[in-house]
């Protein structure tokens, strides 16, 4: 990916977070994506989320595979450690990195090609391990860098820029991930930052694998008429079903301020997610009902967004592996080597 440094000028009255950092401190290099690309709006939402959560940038690990989406980690948190790996294999990098150091924040940014085709298997298994990370799919239904082929998320009947009609059914990552046992599965839209930021905040706080599928129109190859992943089509057919408000632990918990049912769920660090039902009949805590609802509306061509499924009882990778509280990468060698005396003892079994 290209990288351009931004000028180091910060407005003196730019708001600061609890760490004394401005939003600017959470930015990265200048984006080299096409003007108007949905991905850049997601980058902005990521910056906003980390800034408002007061996360130290250098304690963040940002990871990606290959594709336009996978370039975006270069555009946020330049003080974070980044790893841009091979196509479709970011989840395995995340698993290893996470195994080595459980204390850092892990965010992976992927695309529909990277996650639903070449990397579909790795996505499934990262989810199955309930790896403690936020996994964002920037979903535009198209391969951008190779100039406009359909991806596995392209809708039936959608038209490519060059005129081809897609005749294969799409893989919907939200339905797939709920079905596969995901513990935090959400859908957002790059054009709705108000919805997206709390989803990212909650996803970062979720102890386990948080997946957010973000519809992110490709202005160059998939924003035309007859495309079902264009800005216009998405705006027309997308429906928030569940609104999630993220409430930091320090803030007083207010009563539900909206009409309709509201539910507050405590996260492991004392923060809360408040879920507000926007649509009747949607229950984000019931896996099978959620799937039925989503399948029904998908058939109607409607795009249901929000925190679609959530549970916190499934243990994450480290809980299952019962690894030490001290990150493995920080253990002193003295605690790892059994020493010469033990070696002599071990060998008695081999005589």
């Amino acid at each position: 990916m290209s990288f351009m440094r931004k000028p180091d000028v910060v407005h003196s009255r730019a708001p600061k977070n609890d760490l004394g950092l401005t939003r600017r401190d959470y930015e990265g290099g200048m984006s080299t994506l096409c003007a108007g690309c949905g991905h850049d709006a997601i980058t902005a939402a990521i910056i906003e989320s980390f800034w408002s959560l007061n996360v130290e940038p250098h304690r963040v690990v940002k990871m990606s595979g290959i594709g336009c989406s996978s370039k975006t980690p270069a555009y946020f948190l330049s003080d974070a450690h980044g790893i841009n790996s091979v196509h479709g294999r970011m989840p395995s990098i995340a698993a290893g990195a996470n195994a080595a150091n459980r204390d850092l924040h892990y965010i992976g940014v992927s695309g529909d090609g990277d996650s639903l085709s070449i990397g579909y298997g790795q996505l499934a298994h990262a989810l199955r391990r309930n790896l403690n990370m936020l996994y964002i799919i920037e979903n535009n239904g198209v391969y951008g860098l190779t100039k406009g082929q359909f991806s596995a998320s392209a809708d039936l009947g959608t038209k490519a820029k060059k005129g081809d009609i897609n005749e294969q059914p799409p893989i919907d990552p939200v339905i797939a991930c709920i079905a596969m046992g995901g513990t935090f599965v959400a859908r957002g839209f790059s054009g709705d930052k108000a919805q997206l930021v709390p989803l990212i905040q909650a996803g970062l706080k979720h102890k386990g694998f948080a997946l957010i599928d973000v519809l992110s129109p490709c202005v160059t190859f998939n924003d035309h008429e007859d495309s079902t992943k264009s800005y216009a089509h998405t705006r027309q057919f997308y429906h928030p079903a569940i609104h999630a408000d993220f409430i930091a632990p320090a803030e007083p918990i207010r009563a539900a301020y909206e009409k309709g049912e509201a539910m507050e769920v405590e996260l492991f660090d004392g923060s809360f997610i408040r879920l507000r039902k926007v649509r009747e009949g949607y229950d984000p805590t019931d896996r099978s009902k959620a799937l039925t609802y989503l399948n029904e509306y998908m058939a109607k061509g409607e795009i249901i967004t929000g925190l679609m499924y959530w549970e916190k009882s499934t243990p994450d990778l480290h809980s299952i592996a019962r690894t030490s509280e001290t990150p493995l990468s920080k253990l002193d060698y003295g605690r790892l080597s059994p020493g010469a005396g033990k070696l002599a003892k071990i060998q008695e079994r081999y005589r």
Partner: protein
């Protein structure tokens, strides 16, 4: 009738059996008993890729001289698999012995006049003594161990002690096993002249030695190296390496107070993920490894190139089996030398280590992690099924408690704090190796690692000069590797122009072959390479000899190809000796090949 074999402590026993019948424990019992009598011994298991019901063989070589290879002959065959009987019968050397289960009549066609055939009704006796169907099958194998104890004069006290240790918590099994031993032992004593002229006599040559397989030793090496993350996908013949690591960690790496585990093993969804996890963990500061075999290396190619280009330390264990494709998954070969040395697309070269036996597996496993960290690159530990899965007799493993892992060039948070700017891919020391940082340690240490073109400052670049600078530095780093990799083991005879160059598990057969050749007046020098890249000593050795036999276990002379490509040696000085049938190379094969070559030369 040929004269009977009268070798004392110098013969080969081969047991032809059916897999899944418990033959492995009987064979291990037999071999360990010999080991405990102080007699050098080695066991080779030839097993099928199957769970139950196919032919399997176990070859035990007793060698008072301490040769650890196959000799190329069989002196005593225990033929208890009817399916392979005719083949097994043919394999016995004239003057040798064959034991078979005389419960069922033998085909009259199948007999030999030049060996002694001993029938023992193993099944009939076990069926009479044991009620349970499973016990009847298992104990039949223990019964032939009993018969061998009588025929070869194995100390029964040693067998009893071994059974007590093996089945410490299963008293009923000890009783059954002892009974089965007695069945075979008594029958042999009553019906044959015991002991045979070919027999065992206690020695004192196994003191300070252990019997261990290479995968177990390598797994133990990973524990001692301080590896904390292991990721893998099960594949024969590497699986037991991770099993060993897990078992050792369960005993040695669990905090007794909290129960916390100071390690994390992830069984990946495939080898692509396994190597990705190793890259992620290593980049993030842990020592991480993956055990695999040839097909796994093929799958890991893209990530190996990624690790090379982005300079992530990683340790891969390739326990080679017979390729290409699925090949012969339970047979041994050294067929992945080239695919490991140059794995992945683009210009890549990788550091390889070649252990020759389980003791070196332990030592070089530790060295592999130090080298990977020092050189910041994937290191492939290239072993094979013969070393990995067979029990070898080796001197005790040793450990120096003053050892500290060499983590290579890493900037700490304190060092970063003092710095103005950190450039991940700079080469301040001129050895091609930059300084790395661990994520999370310090804001100044952060950088963006990418498999695409990058500058010394780790920024993206598609500029030609940046690319050339980068790959030239990686080449420089490979030169540095030559100074750091383990030196070859050289036995140079003064004034001898003829030499053998080889690697890995060929070592045992070469040692014996050289002794046999020397006794015939053919002296050879010997260089066993232990690593790639080849260092100056390998280069000098090649220069000092005008006829070099390159012994290796593959069809295409891969080591020879690498020597031709990577050293200045003239191609016509090298002559290949290639064994690639899937069986561990034996000394007779090497002696014959060299003798033949010399005869050809003399005739020319």
């Amino acid at each position: 009738m040929s004269p009977a074999n009268t070798g004392i402590n110098d013969f080969v026993i081969k047991i032809a059996n059916v897999n899944g019948t418990g033959s492995a424990s009987a064979n291990t019992l037999l071999m360990k008993a010999i080991f405990r009598m102080g007699i050098p011994v080695v066991g080779k298991n030839f097993f099928p890729s199957n769970i139950q019901g196919l032919p399997t063989w176990y070859e035990i070589r007793v060698s008072h001289k301490g040769y650890l290879c196959r000799s190329g002959s069989v002196d005593l065959m225990v033929a208890v698999n009817a399916e392979t009987y005719s083949q097994d019968l043919q394999e016995v050397e004239p003057g040798g012995y064959l034991i078979y289960d005389s419960t069922w009549p033998r085909d009259r066609q199948l007999s030999r006049e030049d060996i002694q055939v001993l029938g023992i009704p193993l099944s009939a006796m076990c069926n009479e003594r044991f009620d349970n169907a499973r016990a009847r099958i298992l104990m039949k194998n223990v019964a032939y161990v009993g018969a061998l104890a009588a025929l070869l004069e194995i100390d029964l006290d040693v067998i009893r002690a071994l059974l007590q240790e093996t089945y410490r918590d299963k008293q009923n099994l000890i009783a059954a096993n002892l009974e089965a031993i007695d069945i075979g032992y008594s029958y042999a004593r009553e019906h044959f002249d015991c002991p045979l002229p070919m027999r065992l006599e206690p020695m004192d040559e196994t003191r300070d030695h252990i019997m261990i397989d290479g995968n177990t030793a390598a797994g133990l090496g990973c524990v001692y190296a301080g590896a904390t993350v292991g990721a893998w996908y099960p594949i024969t013949p590497s699986t037991s390496l991770m099993d060993a690591f897990k078992n050792f960690c369960e005993r040695l790496r669990i905090d007794p107070e909290t129960g916390d585990r100071n390690y994390c093993i992830i069984q990946a969804e495939d080898e692509l993920a396994a190597i990705g996890m190793v890259m992620g963990a290593s980049w993030n500061g842990a020592r991480a490894f993956t055990p695999t075999s040839g097909p796994g290396i093929s799958l890991m190619n893209e990530f190996i190139g990624f690790g090379y280009f982005t300079e992530i330390p990683a340790v891969l264990f390739n326990v080679q089996r017979v390729g290409p494709s699925t090949g012969l998954p339970t047979r041994t070969q050294q067929g992945d030398l080239l695919s490991c040395a140059y794995a992945s697309h683009g210009d890549t070269r990788h550091v390889l280590l070649f252990p020759a036996d389980p003791r070196e597996c332990f030592e070089l496993a530790v060295a592999a992690f130090d080298l990977a960290d020092r050189l910041q690159t994937p290191v492939i530990f290239v072993t094979d099924l013969d070393i990995g899965m067979n029990d070898w007799m080796v001197p005790d493993l040793e450990w120096d408690d003053s050892y500290q892992p060499d983590r290579g060039k890493v900037f700490t948070a304190e060092q970063l704090e003092e710095m103005d700017v950190f450039h991940r891919y700079a080469d301040p020391d001129g050895d091609g190796i930059g300084y790395r940082t661990f994520p999370g340690d310090h804001p100044k240490g952060s950088y963006f690692l990418r498999g695409s073109g990058h500058t010394a400052a780790a920024t993206y670049s598609e500029k030609s000069p940046d690319y050339v600078e980068l790959v030239d530095r990686l080449a420089r780093k490979f030169e540095t590797a030559k100074q750091l990799v383990p030196a070859p083991v050289i036995d140079q005879r003064k004034g001898v122009g003829r030499a053998i160059v080889s690697l890995g598990s060929c070592d045992g057969a070469i040692r014996e072959a050289r002794d046999i050749l020397a006794a015939q007046g053919i002296e050879t020098s010997y260089c066993r390479v232990r690593a790639f890249p080849f260092n100056a000593q390998v280069e000098a050795f090649l220069e000092e000899h005008d006829q070099v036999f390159v012994v290796e276990q593959n069809r295409d002379a891969q080591l020879k190809q690498m020597l031709v490509m990577e050293t200045r040696v003239s191609k016509d000085r090298l002559r290949s000796i290639l064994s690639y049938d899937g069986m561990p190379v034996d000394s007779r094969f090497i002696v014959d090949a060299i003798t033949e070559a010399l005869e050809e030369e003399a005739a020319a």
